[in-house]
Symmetry: C2
Amino acid sequence: MTILSTDETLAQDKQRPTDPIIDLDVHETFTSWNELLPYLKNPWRKLLEQGAWTPPSFPFAYWTGHGLNRADSHPADGTPAGSNFELFREQVLDQYPIEYAVLTGQFMPGDLESQYEFASALGSAYNDWVLEHWVARDPRIKTSIHVAPQDPQAAAREIHRLGDHPGVVQVMLPIGNRAYGDPFYHPIFEAAQQHNLVIAMHHADPLRSALGKGRYYIEWHVNVPQGAMSEVTSLVINGVFDKFPALQFTIVESGWSWLPHLLWRLDQNYRSLYHEIPWVKQLPSKYIRERIKFSTQPTEDFSAANWLRLIEMLETDRMLVFSTDYPHWDFDAPQESIPRELPDELRRRIFYKNARELYGKKLG
Amino acid sequence: MTILSTDETLAQDKQRPTDPIIDLDVHETFTSWNELLPYLKNPWRKLLEQGAWTPPSFPFAYWTGHGLNRADSHPADGTPAGSNFELFREQVLDQYPIEYAVLTGQFMPGDLESQYEFASALGSAYNDWVLEHWVARDPRIKTSIHVAPQDPQAAAREIHRLGDHPGVVQVMLPIGNRAYGDPFYHPIFEAAQQHNLVIAMHHADPLRSALGKGRYYIEWHVNVPQGAMSEVTSLVINGVFDKFPALQFTIVESGWSWLPHLLWRLDQNYRSLYHEIPWVKQLPSKYIRERIKFSTQPTEDFSAANWLRLIEMLETDRMLVFSTDYPHWDFDAPQESIPRELPDELRRRIFYKNARELYGKKLG
């Protein structure tokens, strides 16, 4: 037996033919808010031009100079990480066998606490900017429609405006302080279903855990999956899956190792308390297994044996999809995040097949 | 091979010698608030006598006549479930080989949003009432000190007042809207450590998930473990385990199948972000494995094989303790909640040994 160093193993991996990858979470951004000006009408445009508005901020100071991002993702010209298409192409698209990368953005119009019409206008401007400056540049890039869910009718209009664009595969809803099962948000689901768009959810800065924001960034970050747990439960309890039978969901960047617990807990509660929610027609786990995909990032430090134990607990290999989270600090590189020891078919499901089935013909 | 019916199997089980059990969660209560009057001084006593105060309420209507409780736990005289000692003795203490049952209460002084001194007075009155009306009646009964954590100095005084009572084994903190790692609450930990008391935590009515209370009871109930996750994270991040090196914790009635996920996620984040919290000296999972016990109830619907997978993921059989949650609807009967197929030693750990080690000499 020849023992290879880690570097040699990685080099060998790089040489062998690899299966295609779909990356469900790339956080592109602009170099400054001014890039949105051409896509905004007055009175909104003036608010940006006059510096009359301060974007929402995140309360934590970081202990590293690169803040939330991979140190090498900062363009040499000092522009923000994630704002340089060429660097992204070099570091992700051409670095790995990426067949498609789905943009998820960094700005979330849902984070605005006031002036909902302004939030919707910013969302539309951002969507137009992304289509022109990112999606148009590479056929491997698909994107999400950003809407302001605080105004569901406006969100639905935006979905109708862009929902059939060939570069658009999903609607992005921030997991912040809204449980989207609430019928208040159903106009968004109705519009998305009409255009065969996936509903994607990703945590956003306003998210708090059950006991608040936390005193440090690490505390906030550890608790992030709670938002995803609450969204899954909210969708189930409010009967969203039967009301919108064609709608598919994906929850990105909240991990997945908590999923067996949630499936069991939901089923156990449903068996005892289904009288309370007669519009829910079957076991919650069945809806979730068939209708929601979870991105693996950020993968946690557990063994391949534990990966397989978790998959056995889930009773399906169809729920996981891959994402890198570029350019954030906890970026998942394909070779290092999904253990090589996993069966080839499971790896293919995670890296490619499940996402391919999720987006269907939208990927062309 | 003789096939036995479920009834026959259960009957056989009942005949065979059983290992002792420690039940960590019994929700005793009074028949009415007036029972506390002899233990209250003015001006607090008058508030109850004059009906000047409305206890906090829980917003959900229930679809069953027995509400939150086992149908057979309601005393024939119409008094509240959990208020009749003899019925509890018959249904739990004498029904199973209970060596000790730890009372956890239903009233939580921490639930009061205002008038903190009144909350502390109610807590003290309740503690005195429990010691006289429950603990004094059976040597198998131990109890928790109820305090108002919103006033940590008052809570510490109450712990000093009752901390060495032989019937007292722990301090109860409600998991509602407070993350107890915050140094604001450390006077409570300091006092508990001085008296060798365990810190127990149990969810309470004010608890909300990351996205709010939920629209139905089932939604609220499914999301309950998020409070426990946030408490565990808060204790770790704030360095509580090194600051109070002798203090042990137990989190009751939030389940445990989410624990592997949380250990992994905490460790992964610690490896990358430990600079932010230099007072945390080792991997979070190590602190948690050694210092926190989790009660198994409410056990979820998963197989013995999955129990064993989860125990392998935890890498220890020392974290789980047993509880019934009497008289609540999701009561766990010993024979039915912990699978018979589990190894005997693991069952003994869950039913008895881990709790015995947790409380140490406090159990006599």
